[in-house]
Amino acid sequence: MTKTKAIENCTSCNVRLVEAGFTRFPCPTCGETIARCVKCRKQAIRYICPNCGYEGP
């Protein structure tokens, strides 16, 4: 698996990643780690890469 930096908080809502079901993945454009908590994933809340400004999903 690609090494992703272990960031502790959700990129969208900044909540601490403690509940099972969160994910971390590299930004498609710059490779910076993006983390999404369960709620943000479920509600399809937009994330923005802190490094390059890439928007998803």
Partner: protein, 206 residues
Amino acid sequence: MNGSEDENSDGKMLISNDRYLSAGIHIGTQQKTEQMLRYIYKVRSDGLYLIDIQKTDEKIRDAAKFLARYDPSKILLVSTRQYGQKPIVIFAKSTGAKAIPGRFVPGTLTNPDLSCYQEPDVLIATDPYADQNAVREANIIGIPVVALCDTNNVLSNVDLAIPTNNKGKGSLAFVYCLLARSLLAEKGIETFDYAISDFEAGGELM
């Protein structure tokens, strides 16, 4: 498909606009969701929503870059949809990924006691609604989900959406072919010996 001959003249898009249009990638549905609004170009007089091809092209390139960061054997493709089954098998064959065409056995990602248990690092779903079991299990184990989304799809539990027509035979073959080609190109492999017709459903699964 030869990479250079299909390259658009300005070099910005993976393939020319006309090729996208002829494959029917832009054809959406008569329903739209809030989350897919930003990928919709316009609504036709008969109520059909059309997808913005520029954004589709952009997202295919982003998805290829994203998938190139993973080990190909750790990429899992699923398709319950009939027309997506052959494309995912050929995609898996050309890139070294794994594919589950047809029924997704519940527990494939979560139950280690099953013989078909797998531990992928990323999931590619052909339709997040039809493949909702796989998407839900990917959500439970915390792996990112890439999905081909039509105008009527909800982006719940999807981490990277590729806006496209995910119902047509031609469009699914086209998208998977482009994605496979771009993925290999990102890895530095320029030769791609498959044509779009190889991806198209209709013949026997290989």
